[in-house]
Symmetry: C2
Subunit: 143 residues, 2 copies
Amino acid sequence: MSKHVKEMGILKEHLGKHQLKFTRQRELILDAFLKQEHITAEEMYHQLARKDPHLGLATIYRTLNLFCEAGLAQARHFGTQTQYDNVSHKGHHDHLICTGCGKIVEFENCDIERLQEEVATRNGFTIQTHRLELYGLCSRCRH
Amino acid sequence: MSKHVKEMGILKEHLGKHQLKFTRQRELILDAFLKQEHITAEEMYHQLARKDPHLGLATIYRTLNLFCEAGLAQARHFGTQTQYDNVSHKGHHDHLICTGCGKIVEFENCDIERLQEEVATRNGFTIQTHRLELYGLCSRCRH
DNA sequence: CTTGAAATTGATAAACCGTATCAAAAAGAA
DNA sequence: TTCTTTTTGATACGGTTTATCAATTTCAAG
């Protein structure tokens, strides 16, 4: 039985609103997804191959995109692949990305978040989620 | 004659250091590139098709990657495509994106930029560029 | 507990983006 | 001009993601 009651509820609500169905695969993939901070479709495919050898790669892609629409995941393109971030898993962290070696450092900054809220409010927006990526050179690659 | 004297100099210096040659195509592509804030290889291909119908797409990719190595451009993965940012272009703006109607509002916030620098410094990074997107509902879509 | 319409799945073909390959052309030093 | 090295353009290729479609599953209604 799943421990991810809240997220499962969010998914079911989304499914209900869009005449979509709750399936064994969607439950399986959501459970696996919520255990990670972020994952690629390919990684999940291999990870779940043991539990269900017949689970297709296309289903993984479709389901992860569904999670994005439901607000449970967020897609981030890095290199040639797409990373699916677990939105609920964060005290929403952002990324510092080294353009030299590809290293990724995660960080969290309340002041920035507060200023984002300010900007949004000033423009009449209510923020649901955000994405902040800083690109540059890490100390090692600068030399 | 090009107006981008400084950048042309940077390119030529890079070429000289690496036993590479200065070609008509590289000059043409750099001129076109510097007129934009950011562009994809495909966009540039179509844009330059009028000036030189025989310019190959592979050459565009190779040259834009060369600009990255020379420090004139910065590659960013956006959606499924790669955006090449014009590093010399300042006035970086960020985006508020309405998940309801797709409306995009551009903004600029110095305080956020300053905090970003702080975070980067604390982690030993030197920022080259960044990307900040706030997703939410605009005043009209909230109701 | 059936039944049946509608959605989903898995297998795989196709699309897409960017890179590799290679013969022909161009650059640039001697 | 000559000669060596690099670059170009055309296109084949490789990896990732999406589209297609017959078979299967879901789930609401009877």
